[in-house]
Amino acid sequence: MSPGAETRLWLAQRASAVVLALCVVVHLVTMIAAVRGGLTAAEMLGRTRGSMMWATVYGLFVLAVSIHAPIGLRTVASEWLGWRGRTADAACVIVGVALLLLGARAILAVTL
């Protein structure tokens, strides 16, 4: 991979880490607050269904995970398995796309 692409990946992972830090805080605070209202599916869906705000927050969360995790896995594959090059890069792209699709499906399921 070119030096420019390698640096862009590094920037993307740092930027996505910043987004994740904020999203995790929102997620944890929401969980703590949500438990107080009774932990039922109806209560949770009542909060999320039709909510543009929750779709946006968790949309950002999923997007950040889909960027952050594959870049980290690429490093793990390189350093722990010695797996480098195009096949490793392709595998990490597949993981990223899978995370994005699974996350999007979950968000659509609770907000639509």
Partner: protein
């Protein structure tokens, strides 16, 4: 007279430890111990040293699991119950006994574009660089590396990715990135930004922890990360 039991690596990569008994002396350094073994017990022991006073960096070895300059390491500070284990530096091919082949280490300095690239000729005036300038202070903080290889042997990333340029080569590149007289600019940034370059550093800081010159290669590598990121954002890389 008290004695030391010293296990010394013998042979190449498939070698083994051999134990010697060495008299324990006051103010004795690990290099004194190795020299005693070679001069009094086994003249076939291969090791490398030159200045004996912490200036040349050639006597670095692994002492009780940690890379160190043996000439500046007192036995009193590292011996454990009268025992010492001395091995060659890690992450480098062993030539024989305590001698490693440093070519890979220095080749990486060249790959990181560790050569100064002048922008003026001998007919130009001497460059005037204010010692108080931020760029020069950054150079001063990193320039005193003597290439001993201790940081390289201490680095986990080198162990995981043998192509990784390593702390010393990247530290050298950083001193040139901040040198206002140097003209390599983005070419050097490109040389240090590949998948075996500065972005592979995990900031474990083993290099900064072990550097006998008390430099902080981790900080230099962080500087390279910032410089390469800015170059990408400017469209230069």
């Amino acid at each position: 007279m008290s004695i030391l039991a010293v296990s010394v690596w013998r042979g190449g990569a498939d070698g083994r430890f051999q134990t010697f008994t060495v008299p324990r002396l006051d103010a004795q350094t690990v290099l004194d111990v190795v020299t005693h073994i070679q001069r009094r017990l086994d003249p076939t022991l291969a090791y490398r040293f030159a200045c004996r006073v912490g200036m040349c960096g050639s006597c670095a070895m692994t002492v009780n699991g940690q890379p160190r300059w043996t000439c500046r390491t007192h036995v009193a500070n590292v011996e454990e119950n009268g025992k010492l284990t001395i091995a060659p530096l890690a992450h480098l091919p062993i030539v024989r006994d305590l001698v490693t082949d440093m070519r890979a280490f220095f080749d990486k300095w060249a790959r990181a574009r560790g050569q100064f690239q002048p922008t003026k000729t001998r007919r130009d005036d001497v460059a005037r660089v204010a010692p108080s300038s931020a760029a020069r202070r950054a150079v001063d903080a990193a320039i005193e590396c003597i290439g001993c290889g201790v940081c390289y042997a201490a680095c986990d990333v080198v162990a995981w990715n043998p192509d990784y340029l390593g702390p010393a080569a990247l530290n050298r590149a950083w001193t040139l990135v901040k040198d206002v007289r140097d003209g390599a600019g983005c070419e050097r940034l490109a040389a240090v930004a590949g998948d075996a370059g500065c972005h592979a550093c995990h900031t474990h800081e083993s290099c900064s922890e072990r550097c006998p010159m008390h430099l902080a290669p981790t900080a230099s590598i962080a500087g390279l990360k910032r410089a390469t990121a800015l170059a990408v954002l400017r469209g230069d890389l």
